[in-house]
Each structure stands twice: as structure tokens, then as C-alpha cells.
């Protein structure tokens, strides 16, 4: 009997293994055949099903998926190659690429101009969408998540390489490595959400890019921008980026950058400036941003100059502005024509009610200077002794340090830009454990020991009678 059962199980198992294979094989050959048979300008619609990759699109066709057809790479190589220009790909689930970083195994690899990749889902792919010399392509409304491996073994969810005029819009990207853009001009990156990756955005040699309305949240670094000119970063929300480095935005050798109306919140460093701008006649402009609740609002290397900070809001950063290595700053501007920034730690007043503080804002906390000089001293952060040091410096001008910066026109109230995307709503914790905590605490304090109405006193009944005799 037992042997019979085992045999039956074995047989059914075998059947189960064989059957899907034959079906998938049929479908795979089906889609591959349809792609091979297509002519330029054809539109192919695929309704559901699982199709085996790798596949290649080498005609300029429009490929539309209905009911989320799947192209499964089977864990080998790149799932979908696009080698013909002006291909339109929409509505597919692309999954299971190989995991070789050397071979840059990708979900979708594009090597042709004018490709449009819209509304696809990329799952378990090493690299997501790789545009290699694919100018004027559009990558929009896709959702991309990388393989669930350690960050160094992940690939880039989006990589752009020598592709001018690419638009990357409204994609949702999580747990990848870097969204990285190289040697490409006039990029438009907007409305994307990048979370839990390494570098939310990484620009290298990309002039004239516009980066707006993106949410870069809980990555190691929000956006790191290098060697590019005339980049515009506006209306982005860049928050909770606290990995190693942990910059909201990092600028290295960036000329004429415009950083405007962004929210930099709860990062380790809101904005980090290294040799930016690089050229003598170029100016970095920071306008209308919020640097709030970061460990450091803005951190500059000592040699950094020619930046203009106007109408920004510096709110409750542990250190509003830091100069790494200490010292004072030169040739950076904190107010233009009497208009400065809002500083939450400004202690002055506005007697004439013009909206500007009557005294300049001076950043001259002694503890900050100590930390800038000797970063290890940051271990005393939150220590009441740190506050005592600052207090002493205020009380005894003798030990008051040179101000790091002076803002001649501090704003009296913050002005929070409205254009940036909201932070993702996090689930609020349940309140009952806290209620329980309070109830237990009150219960503990009113432990009814020795009280006349307590159960203990019932064992000692004379308590009640004694009252009558009094």
C-alpha cells in the first residue's frame, strides 16, 4: 500500500515538472517568434502569460502588455534587449535577470535612441533599466526593485550612459544600488521615488540636468552630483538619508548649480559641498530650501567658496552649518541685498517689524567649533556639558569663537516651500501599550497598602471599630 502511494506521489511530481515546461516552452517560442516576425511600425499586444527570456527587440515596434504578461529571464543574463530605435514597451513584468555585476545583467538593456519604457514592473533584476547610448529615451511610471541581496552586490535600478535628453519620470524605485547617470546632457529627472538604495541619484558629467519633484528617502545618500554644470535641483524632498556619508545632496565640482525649494530633512548632512563651484566665475545658488532636523544642515569643506544662501530655512539641525576641519568661511554669501535665511536658533528680535532680525545671525557656538576642529568630540552631542560650553562662551566673550558665518538679514519666520512631494506616511504606533504603561505606573503608586479600605485591613477588623471610640 505504502509503496503504491509513494509511486503515485512520484508520478504526480514528475507530471508536475514536465507539464509547465512544455507550456512555457510553447509561449516562449510564441513571443520570440512574434518579435522576430514583426516589422518596423508594428504594434504587438501580449495578453498575460509567462514568457521566457532572454528576448531581443530589434525592430522599431510598439509592444504592449495587457494583464501583466511576464518576461522571465530564468536567472540568466539580461532579460530584454532593445536594439532598434523608437521602440515603445509598456505593461510588462520583467523579472529574474542573471546576477553578474561584471556582465551588467539587466532587466531591460537599451542600446538605441528614442526608446520609450512606460509602466512596467521590474522584479528580481540585478540592473533594472540600462540605457546605453540611447538618447532622447523616456523611462516613466515603472516600478523597479532590485534583488534582495547586500547593497554591494546589487545593481543599479536605472543607469544612463552617454544618452542625452533622456527623461526619467514618475518611477518608483526601491532597494536598488544607485540611480546613476553618466555623460548625458539635458536630462529631465522628475517625480521619481527612490527609497532604501545606496545613492538615490548619482550624476556624473551631466550638464544642464533638471531634477525636480523627486522623493529621495532613506537611501544612504539622497543625491550625489559630480562634475556637472548648470544642474537644477528643485522641489525635491530628500529625507532620512543616513547611511555612510548620509548626505541629502552632495555636490562635488559642480558649477552653477541651482538648488531651490527643496526639503532636506532628517539626513545626516542636509547638503555637502566639496569644491563646488569649481570655476572661479561660477556661483552655487541655494534658495528657498528647508534644511531641517539634520545632524548637520549644510557642511562645507574649508576651501569651498562662491555659494549664495538666500531665503533658506535652517530648522533645528544639530549643527546648522559646519565647516569640516574647522575655521571660518570666506567668500560664501548668507544674505543678498539684506535678505538672509531663517535660523531656528536666531536669538535676536525684530523691533521694526520688517520681517528681518535687527541683529545679524552669527554662528558662533563654541561646541560646534570644537566639533568642527575635532570631529571625535561629537560624542558629547546631547551631553548637558556641550550646552554648558556654549553657555560659558556666551557669558564670557573672552572664549567666544570667531563666528563661522554672519547672516546680516536673518528672517524672523520660516517659509516652507509647498512644491516638494510629501514624506511617505509612516504607520503610527498603537497607543494602548503606552496607556498600559501609564495605568501600571499609577497603579503602582497607589498600591493600596495599609490604606484602611485595603484588603489587608480586613484581616485586622478593629480598624473600623476604633473610629467609633474616637
Amino acid at each position: 500500500m505504502n509503496q503504491l502511494l509513494t509511486l503515485a506521489l512520484l508520478l504526480s511530481g514528475l507530471l508536475g515538472l514536465i507539464a509547465p515546461h512544455s507550456i512555457q516552452a510553447a509561449e516562449k517560442s510564441d513571443l520570440a517568434a512574434r518579435l522576430a516576425a514583426a516589422r518596423d511600425g508594428d504594434t504587438i499586444e501580449v495578453d498575460g502569460g509567462i514568457h521566457h527570456g532572454p528576448l531581443e527587440i530589434n525592430n522599431s515596434i510598439t509592444l504592449i502588455g495587457v494583464n501583466w504578461p511576464v518576461i522571465d529571464g530564468g536567472g540568466q543574463g539580461t532579460v530584454l534587449h532593445i536594439t532598434a530605435p523608437d521602440v515603445h514597451l509598456e505593461g510588462f513584468v520583467i523579472r529574474n535577470s542573471g546576477d553578474s555585476l561584471d556582465q551588467e545583467n539587466s532587466g531591460i538593456a537599451v542600446e538605441a535612441a528614442g526608446t520609450t519604457i512606460v509602466n512596467n514592473r521590474l522584479e528580481e533584476t540585478l540592473f533594472g533599466i540600462y540605457l546605453r547610448k540611447a538618447p532622447n529615451s523616456v523611462v516613466a511610471d515603472n516600478s523597479i526593485s532590485s534583488m534582495d541581496v547586500d547593497v554591494p552586490r546589487r545593481g543599479d535600478p536605472i543607469r544612463v550612459w552617454y544618452s542625452n535628453g533622456v527623461r526619467i519620470e514618475n518611477n518608483t524605485i526601491e532597494k536598488g544600488r544607485d540611480v546613476v547617470l553618466w555623460y548625458s546632457e539635458q536630462l529631465q529627472v522628475s517625480g521619481n521615488t527612490v527609497t532604501h538604495g545606496r545613492y538615490g541619484l548619482h550624476f556624473m558629467y551631466c550638464d544642464d540636468a533638471i531634477v525636480e519633484n523627486n522623493l529621495l528617502y532613506r537611501n544612504s545618500v539622497g543625491a550625489f552630483m559630480m562634475y556637472s554644470r548648470r544642474i537644477t535641483l528643485q522641489n525635491n524632498t530628500i529625507a532620512g538619508n543616513r547611511g555612510p556619508s548620509g548626505y541629502g545632496v552632495g555636490l562635488k565640482d559642480m558649477d552653477d548649480a541651482l538648488i531651490e525649494n527643496n526639503l532636506f530633512l532628517d539626513n545626516r548632512v542636509g547638503a555637502y559641498l566639496d569644491n563646488s563651484p569649481r570655476e572661479v566665475d561660477s556661483i552655487g545658488r541655494f534658495t528657498g530650501n528647508v534644511f531641517g532636523y539634520n545632524d548637520i544642515g549644510v557642511s562645507l569643506l574649508p576651501s569651498v567658496r562662491h555659494n549664495e544662501f538666500v531665503s533658506n530655512n535652517f530648522i533645528e539641525n544639530e549643527e546648522q552649518v559646519a565647516i569640516e576641519g574647522g575655521g571660518t568661511m570666506s567668500d560664501n554669501t548668507w544674505s543678498v541685498a539684506g535678505v538672509g535665511n531663517y535660523w531656528s536658533d536666531y536669538a535676536g528680535f525684530d523691533a521694526n517689524n520688517d520681517g528681518f532680525g535687527d541683529l545679524p545671525y552669527r554662528s558662533e557656538r563654541l561646541f560646534e567649533q570644537l566639533v568642527d576642529n575635532q570631529p571625535a568630540m561629537r560624542i558629547f552631542l546631547y551631553s548637558p556639558a556641550a550646552a554648558a560650553v556654549d553657555f560659558a562662551a556666551r557669558a564670557f566673550p573672552l572664549i567666544r569663537p570667531q563666528p563661522k558665518l554672519v547672516d546680516e538679514g536673518p528672517l524672523m519666520s520660516p517659509d516652507i516651500p509647498a512644491g516638494a512631494p510629501p514624506l511617505p506616511a509612516e504607520q503610527n504606533g498603537r497607543l494602548w501599550p503606552l496607556l498600559l504603561l501609564v495605568v501600571m505606573a499609577v497603579g503602582l503608586m497607589s498600591w493600596p497598602w495599609l490604606a484602611p479600605q485595603s484588603p489587608i485591613s480586613r484581616r485586622f477588623p478593629k480598624y473600623g471599630k476604633a473610629k467609633a471610640t474616637l
Partner: protein
């Protein structure tokens, strides 16, 4: 050792704490300040809701560092000294009691009272944070309460040590206040000065600073709230890189040692000295 005796003395201590003006003052002050700070960091700038939970928690850490050691030290310092001074200690020890039971009963009683004070303060504050929708890390918040309790009982234990060592209650309070100054300000200030002059490396600074129970608490609390120690600069990064997942248990263990060791010394002093 009989637990029933410890329990009786613990109840007595709780009852006394309830009637202790200082204790009530501490409790009210802590609760009010915690609520005010949390409210400021949540809603301070026109309710933009930009501050994350980490920041709200950090502002509580700041408050705890100031007020909780003061609570523990002064209550502990009065714990034995005032009863010794009034003579009730002598009478208590004439009862069929082990001095250990007396010591533990008083310690547990005051610990429970401190727990209650922290429970009220943190509980109400947490509920307020939650009502603003900012209670996104309930577990971290509850851990913060636990860590704070550890700090409270280690200060209490130090207070007991003072209480066992000095003659009069007024002296005990004086020494406790000095101990508070030392832990909260002078120790760190001295270390800061030394570090500036000798240009300490991050790891040296870490070791020296962790000799202070307040720094142990702060480091553990920030690690709990932020999941890393970047906030504390190179020394924090060094600590986490060296010890990784063992760091939090290590910090908690050291904090617990700050409770147990002074208590053991207190017991030694207490038995050597008797009721006078």
C-alpha cells in the same frame, strides 16, 4: 533572604515616595518637560510635521540626561541617611530582618517609584506623540523607556552608596548634588578639555566617555533611536564598527554594572556600619 520582607519594605517605600514632596515634584517636572519638549519638536514650527521620530526621541534623551540622574541620586541619597538620622533605621534593624532585606526593599521600592514616575512621563508623552501621528517607532520608544529606567536605577544605586557612606541626610543630599554635577557636567567638561589638549583619538575618547553612566545611556539611547551612531561622529562610528550587534547588549550590561556594583559596595558599607 525572605522576599516577603522585601515586599513589605518595598510597599512602605512606595507609600513614602507618594508622600514625598520631592518625588512628586520630580515626577510632575519630568512629565511636563517631556510633554513640552515633544510638543515643541512635533508642532513647534507651525505643525509642519517635518521632524521625524528620531528627533523627538533625541529631545527626550536630552531631558532625561539632566533630570533622571538628579531624581535617582537625591532620592537614593535620602533613602538610608534620613532614616538613619531620624532613628527609624535603628528600630527597623531591631526587627527580625536581614539588613540585606532592608536594603533591597528600599531599593526596589524606590526603583518602582522611579519606574512609575518615568511610566507616567513617557506614557503620556508617547500618547501625545502618537496623537500627532509621530509615534512611528513604538518599539524604539518602549526601549527608550527601558533604557531610561536602567539609568534611573543606576543613579539610585549611586545615591544609595552616598547614603551609606555619609553621616547626615543634609550631607548626603549635598554629595548627591555634587555627584550629579560631576556626572552631568564636570566629568564631560574635564574630558572635553583633556581631549582638546591631548588631541584624543576617537577610540580613546570613546573609552573615557563610556566611564560615565550617562554617556552609556546616551549612546545606547541614540543607537536605539537611530539604529546607528553616526550622530556621535567618529567615536560613535568606531564603536558600532568594532562591536556591531554586540554594542547595545554591551552598553546595557555596563549600565547594569553601574547599578549592581554600587549596590554591593553599599551593602558592604551598610553592614560594616550598622544602624548608626
Amino acid at each position: 533572604m525572605e522576599f516577603s520582607n522585601v515586599l513589605i519594605l518595598m510597599q512602605k517605600e512606595l507609600r513614602d515616595a507618594r508622600r514625598n514632596r520631592w518625588f512628586i515634584l520630580y515626577m510632575v517636572a519630568f512629565t511636563t518637560l517631556a510633554l513640552a519638549l515633544a510638543w515643541l519638536s512635533l508642532a513647534g514650527l507651525g505643525n509642519y510635521g517635518l521632524a521625524g521620530f528620531g528627533r523627538t526621541g533625541a529631545s527626550l534623551v536630552n531631558l532625561v540626561l539632566l533630570i533622571v540622574p538628579l531624581m535617582g541620586l537625591t532620592l537614593g541619597a535620602l533613602g538610608l541617611a534620613s532614616e538613619r538620622e531620624s532613628g527609624t533605621l535603628l528600630y527597623l534593624l531591631a526587627q527580625p530582618l536581614d539588613p540585606k532585606e532592608l536594603l533591597l526593599g528600599k531599593f526596589f521600592g524606590l526603583s518602582a517609584a522611579l519606574m512609575a514616575a518615568l511610566g507616567v512621563g513617557f506614557g503620556l508623552t508617547g500618547m501625545m506623540i502618537g496623537s500627532f501621528g509621530g509615534l512611528t517607532h513604538l518599539n524604539a520608544f518602549l526601549w527608550l523607556v527601558l533604557l531610561t529606567f536602567l539609568l534611573a536605577i543606576s543613579s539610585l544605586s549611586l545615591g544609595f552608596l552616598i547614603s551609606a557612606a555619609v553621616q547626615r541626610a543634609a550631607t548626603a543630599v549635598g554629595v548627591a548634588l555634587f555627584g550629579w554635577l560631576l556626572l552631568v557636567f564636570l566629568g564631560d567638561l574635564g574630558l572635553m578639555g583633556t581631549a582638546v589638549v591631548l588631541r584624543f583619538q576617537a577610540q580613546e575618547l570613546l573609552w573615557f566617555s563610556l566611564a560615565n553612566p550617562l554617556q552609556l545611556y546616551k549612546t545606547a539611547a541614540i543607537l536605539n533611536l537611530q539604529q546607528n551612531l553616526d550622530l556621535l561622529g567618529p567615536a560613535g562610528v568606531f564603536a558600532l564598527r568594532t562591536y556591531g550587534a554586540r554594542l547595545l547588549p554591551l552598553l546595557i550590561g555596563l549600565l547594569a554594572a553601574w547599578t549592581v556594583v554600587p549596590l554591593l559596595i553599599t551593602h558592604q558599607l551598610f553592614t560594616r556600619r550598622g544602624a548608626l
